[in-house]
Amino acid sequence: MMLFDSVIAAACLGAAAMALFARDRIAAVAAFLVMGLLVALSWLRLGAPDVALAEAAIGAGLTGALLLRSARRVPKASAKALPPAQWLGAALLSLAVSGAILWTALIVETAAIYPALVNEALPESGVENPVTAVLLNFRAWDTLLEIAVLFAALAVIAVVKPVHPRIAPLGPMMLPFARVVLPLTIFLAGHLLWQGGHAPGGAFQAGAILAGGAIALGLSGMVRPIRWGRAALAGLAILGLGAFVVAALAAELLTGALLGYPAGAAKAWILAIESALTLSIAATLLLLFIGPAERH
């Protein structure tokens, strides 16, 4: 297996190099997509299936879609040749930093304190999958702030209001593809959401897949260009943060501790929050792609 891992690691590095130093911008984005998938594979090899799912769905999928959408609209900056001193300085700086990181990560082997704590606290967390337990119970406050980050990103884009052309349908063939893919994504998202409790999965991955399905729907032109939907989607997107905050306050009312779920019902609370999050993340990610405010 050592060979397989080193091949993937080398492939990631190669794809990254191509993405960063490619002449043509579409080639760069394509290389970035390939790198995203390879990185998802390496998360898998590093024993982090939840993260691999998220990386594939969000890191490679959605970020790739965003980059492709913007690739043509952001022109190539005038490549003024930088003085060689700056190239050298930049090279030295980056080598020094990464060398230090390598040296630090290599020589140090102290056992992390978290696995013991997680295993000991897992039974009371109401879920078996430790990652979901950490995300939605032990460090639920991190996740709440993370949803706030998505909210802030949406608010920034609403203020900046880039002009997105209406999503032109890609062609007749896209329609049957979307007809098959969409129900599949809805089914998959539900499965992942439910499976999050005891196996890799959860709100983020389910939300991303739903968003992917919706984008495929949009590209197929099956639904009239989604104009009426924006307000509803924006409402849905904002709802996530609102629901999470209300849940946090409600939990505090019941148990006296912020985000402290009542003893027996932890699983129910987590599932409720996760389903609200899935819908809101799907709506947010879709709006990040198509832009929350219609600007002609």
Binding site: L170, G171, M173, M174, F177, V180, V181, L184
Partner: protein, 101 residues
Amino acid sequence: MTALLHSAGLVLMIAGTAFLAVAALGVWRLPDLLSRLHVLTKADTAGVALIALGAACLAQSFTATLSLLLCTLLVALSGATTGHLIARDHLDFASSQEDSP
């Protein structure tokens, strides 16, 4: 029985990998876009299907086989559609080049 399935699985996996190798060679050697597309869609779909089948044999669990089947279906579907879309776009782009200069 399991030994037979095991060896069949291995054989299928090797065949699948061979297909993918051919696809990679094709992309590298063939001159223009359309022929590359041709090789890619064909070999990819076949290669992935074979590997999935081999993995199903090795895995011997029903749920694994079901999800592998789902993967094959999706890869085939999306591979074909993407190939078609790229080809259409290429042809539109090519035709617009001809009548414009």
